[in-house]
């Protein structure tokens, strides 16, 4: 299954995302920010980094990149799209995901292995159960998720992940950035577009510390495969 990874100027994790997709059994395809189409991929990942330097506001410029037009149309048709960190910020700026990401509550960049609890069933958490805890790195300066009505998001099954303690309890101390309702990841109402602040692409290799990210990245492969009735290609 071919999965696109969009490369903006200033993307940093695009090679990591491509590697991780390969690990879970996909065929990664780098998509240039200036491209007018998505080269026929079946899913798209917007990787982490600092697109266009992010000097204005994270994702504020990237949403205008030529490739974003094709991406929005793909998302509208139900195509699976995952934004990780900067990708999440871009999807919020582009209006493809609800809410916004602002400066961390501590006003510092935060990098650490982060336990997160699965909060909903979706394309992006297939094979995982609500309540499952994964440990996945976070690394961001602007990851504080804000939304006017997080309760409504949760009720609609749009809250994918919450920051938590290793045992799954949601506490203030476990929240690295002050996100409302400890939200670490959300989806659009249709569930096909998702954004995560944690970086599953940095947790696919036991040699590097964690393999929990495979369960998230692998999930979309099985969902897409199930959707088209084909075999499940994911290596979990």
């Amino acid at each position: 299954m071919r999965v696109g990874v969009v490369q903006f100027p200033g993307s940093c994790d695009e090679r990591d995302a491509a590697y991780a997709l390969q690990v879970v059994g996909a065929e990664p395809v780098l998509l240039w920010h200036g491209a007018a189409d998505l080269a026929g991929v079946e899913a798209v990942v917007l990787p982490g980094g600092f697109s266009y330097g992010d000097y204005l506001r994270t994702g504020a410029l990237a949403r205008f990149a030529p490739v974003m037009g094709a991406l929005a149309a793909f998302a509208q048709r139900g195509g699976p799209v995952l934004g990780i960190c900067n990708g999440f910020q871009i999807l919020c700026e582009a209006g493809l995901l609800p809410g916004a990401l602002t400066r961390n509550a501590g006003l510092r960049f935060v990098a650490r292995p982060q336990p997160v609890r699965v909060a909903a069933r979706s394309t992006w958490t297939a094979g995982l159960e609500p309540g499952d805890v994964l440990t996945i790195p976070v690394k961001h300066g602007e990851g504080r998720y804000v939304h006017d009505d997080p309760g409504q998001l949760a009720a609609g099954g749009q809250v994918l992940l919450r920051y938590c303690e290793p045992d799954g309890t949601v506490t203030r101390a476990a929240n690295p950035n002050g996100s409302v309702a400890a939200i670490a990841g959300v989806t659009n109402p249709a569930g096909n577009v998702a954004g995560l602040m944690p970086h599953p692409e940095h947790a696919v290799d036991a040699l590097l510390g964690s393999t929990d990210g495979r369960r998230l990245l692998g999930a979309v492969l099985s969902s897409v495969a199930a959707g088209r009735g084909g075999p499940v290609a994911a290596h979990l």
Partner: protein
């Protein structure tokens, strides 16, 4: 192009201008003699920066010759932008450490950020993708509000640049000492990986090649920044130097990385040089001089931020994120196309010429016409007076003094001090994982990186070490100890140390005792590097780390690189499993409290002679650590360093979330057993199944070992008969040390 018959217009009031630019009268006379005429303003500008201490190494050069620089793995030694070593399998690794001390005091955030950017471009210039950063940082008294401001700015600056450019920050050091109050040390080491056959050189190849300026436009920021700031002592008026500090743009740096790597992949360049200190002047002079050729550049073609810039300003600007590439004319179109794809401005500004002249034209006139080598290679060399003066406190017999009345209080003081603090407050602000190569990140003996994502990747281990207290008390022994510790840290991971880089941070070279410290340091460093097989492949000298009459401790910082043929065999410092057996291996524990963390934490005292090192013992220990890792008998290994055996055990236990039960060594005073920093020792844990094999290995290699105790599940450290430490509580307190001191 035929040279114009007209000589550049002489500078108005040249001698006064020369003095203002920091040239001595002798140096001025030498310029006049070289040119056979009065220099122009532009020429005075380029000579002043190229002959500055920072660019010319004029005070250190005669000493640096004594360092070993060659070895079986060295592909490129000192003199290029960074050393390159062969790590096998067709892969090469380039690494170098550099300082940005002075700018970081004047403007901590941008000073540190551009320090990161500068060393990344050095690595990039060699043809490599930068894969890791390590930041050894030293600051003044943490209780001083100025220190808090500087630390905060430096840490944010390192993070701002490193995090945004996609290069992981995987290690470093953090140390505090009042000697750095007015002169923080911000050193940055960068590692890059490249195919061994793709090394780029910073030299011209043939006349006619086009000089292409890549990257940011040239502005007035940082004119003489690194070169002038780093070549004078701080005094009154430092605030007025703020415009000398460059401003970094990591986004532009990131584009430059990807653009240059694309140019290397397409094999389009004849040569490339980054622009750091002294900008266009330095890059053109060095590339031309190395090839014995000339270069002619039209400064009117240089894209400027401020059109009113004078020729000397354009030449000496240290605007960041620029490179100079030399390109065969038939490849120019391809180069410009790749640069355009990456959004990197690329402008042909001149060409390589026959002869040896470095000619710059501006507004239609020749403003600069000098032999390139006179700038780059024929600068003044000083034999500064050297006076080796013993440190007044070095003779104090600290190892003969009685131990502390309250051992438990001493333990708490050492473990609660800044030397043993958990660096998490700093490392938690850095991305250490981008690039999917970080096998062992911050907090261990050395960072370990895999070089590719193949099934059986190779790896490299890198560690940096410095110790201002030891080096102040005895610069020669201190330098040996520092080299040995960095190499031992690398060996603990199982990697074979193969090369080193040095950052020599010193006070004013115009004071003979400082040059005495420098000469002694080079002696010690040369001896240790020879004995341990780690030639110096590059580095940096930073003089004038002084405020008024007060010089910093002599502080050589050493980075050592080691190779793991299979990275999967790497060994971490964390205890692995309950029941594992602990061995202390290497040299016996000897009295070793001179300059120790113990003396500092309990008595705020820097005294005594640093412990002696036997380099044969050290080499044998390192070889043993590598062999044990290779045989997969070591489950953890950690060297005994700051805070002695106590510090070593606590760090390994806390990292593993486990505890240990250990038996004190007979015949040693308890405080020496716990806190001695005598070198060439490590603690290795093995599974109970491998105990015999490991002991046999030590015997076969004639490396002394002592069974120390056992790893336990319970998070306590039981020092039998002496104390029992609650590690959960201790870990929390060590994690709180830095935030309590530094968080605003």
């Amino acid at each position: 192009m035929a040279p114009e018959p007209v000589a550049p217009e002489p500078a108005p009031d040249p001698l006064a201008t020369a003095r203002e630019l920091g040239l001595t009268d002798d140096e001025y006379d030498r310029i006049v003699a070289t040119l056979g005429r009065v220099p122009s303003s532009a020429e005075l500008g380029t000579y002043s920066v190229m002959w500055s201490e920072h660019c010319s190494y004029k005070s250190s050069r005669v000493h640096l010759r004594d360092l070993p620089t060659e070895g079986p793995h060295v592909l490129v030694g000192p003199g290029e932008n960074a050393g390159v070593v062969d790590v096998g399998g067709g892969q090469a690794v380039t690494f170098k450490i550099e300082s940005h001390n002075h700018p970081s005091f004047v403007e901590p955030f941008q000073g540190a950020a551009t320090g990161v950017g500068g060393i990344i471009r050095d690595i990039l210039t060699m043809g490599a993708r930068p894969i890791a950063l390590l930041d050894p940082l030293r600051f003044g008294d943490p209780a001083d509000p100025t220190t808090r401001r500087i630390v905060d700015g430096v840490v944010r600056g390192v993070g701002h640049y490193g995090n945004s450019i996609g290069v992981p920050t995987v290690g470093g050091e953090l140390a505090f000492d009042p000697s750095y109050q007015g002169n923080p040390l911000v050193n940055v080491l960068c590692v890059g990986v490249l195919p061994a056959d793709r090394i780029q050189r910073a030299a011209a190849e043939r006349p006619g090649d086009v000089a292409v300026l890549l990257g940011q436009r040239t502005g007035r920021d940082g004119i003489g920044g690194a070169s002038v700031l780093a070549s004078a002592t701080f005094g009154e008026g430092t605030d007025a130097k703020r415009p000398n500090v460059q401003v970094g743009d990591p986004f532009a740096g990131k584009l430059l990385i990807e653009c240059c790597l694309a140019l290397y992949d397409a094999d389009l360049l004849s040569g490339i040089q980054d622009m750091g200190a002294a900008g266009i002047a330095c890059s053109t002079a060095e590339m031309a001089s190395k090839a014995g050729l000339g270069m002619r550049v039209d400064l009117d073609l240089v894209p400027l931020r401020e059109p009113s810039m004078a020729a000397w300003e354009i030449l000496c600007s240290e605007s960041q994120e620029r490179m100079l590439a030399l390109v065969s004319p038939d490849r120019l179109g391809a180069v410009l196309a790749i640069a355009a794809r990456w959004g990197v401005q690329a402008t042909a500004i001149g060409a390589v010429t026959e002869g040896d002249r470095l000619v710059f034209t501006h507004r239609g006139a020749v403003v600069h016409d000098v032999p390139a080598r006179s700038l780059a290679d024929e600068g003044p060399v000083y034999h500064r007076p050297v006076e080796e003066r013993p440190h007044p406190a070095a003779a104090e017999p600290v190892d003969d003094e009685p131990g502390p009345a309250d051992l438990r209080a001493a333990i708490d003081a050492v473990l609660g001090g800044t030397d043993l603090a958990d660096p998490g407050w700093v490392t938690g602000q850095y991305d250490s994982v981008v690039g999917h190569g970080t096998v062992l990140g911050p907090g261990g003996d050395a960072a370990v990186l895999r070089l590719d994502a193949s099934d059986f990747p190779r790896g490299v281990a890198v560690a940096t070490d410095g110790n201002g207290r030891w080096c102040a008390l005895d610069p020669e022994e201190g330098a040996k100890l520092v080299v040995a510790e960095a190499a031992r840290n690398v060996a603990c991971t199982g990697a074979r140390p193969i090369a080193a880089t040095n950052n020599l941070n010193f006070g004013s070279p115009e004071r003979p005792p400082v040059m005495g410290q420098f000469a002694a340091t080079i002696r010690g460093m040369a001896a240790a590097c020879r004995a341990l097989g780690t030639p110096i492949t590059g580095g940096n000298v930073s003089f004038y780390n002084a405020t008024g009459d007060a010089d910093i401790h002599p502080t050589p910082v050493v980075g050592v690189l080691g190779v793991l043929d299979e990275v999967v065999t790497r060994v971490g410092h964390a205890f692995a499993a309950p029941g594992d057996v602990l061995f202390q291996v290497g040299a016996p524990t000897r009295p070793g409290l001179g300059g120790s963390a113990y003396l500092w934490a309990t008595q705020r005292r820097i005294a005594g002679r640093p412990p002696r090192i036997d380099l044969d013992e050290e080499r044998a220990l390192q070889a043993l650590l590598v062999a044990a890792a290779d045989a997969e008998w070591a489950r953890s290994a950690h060297d005994v360093a700051a805070g002695g055996l106590l510090g070593c055990l606590v760090e390994s236990a806390v990292a593993g979330g486990l505890g240990a039960r250990v038996i004190p060594e007979a015949g040693l005073a308890p405080h020496q057993w716990l806190f001695s920093e005598s070198p060439s020792r490590a603690v290795v844990s093995t599974s109970s199944a491998n105990v015999l094999q490991f002991a046999n290995l030590c015997d076969a290699r004639r490396v002394p070992y002592r069974r120390l105790g056992v790893v336990v599940d319970d998070p306590t450290l039981e020092l039998q008969g002496l104390a029992t430490l609650d590690l959960t509580d201790l870990a929390a307190r060590r994690a709180a040390t830095l935030p309590a001191l530094l968080a605003p």
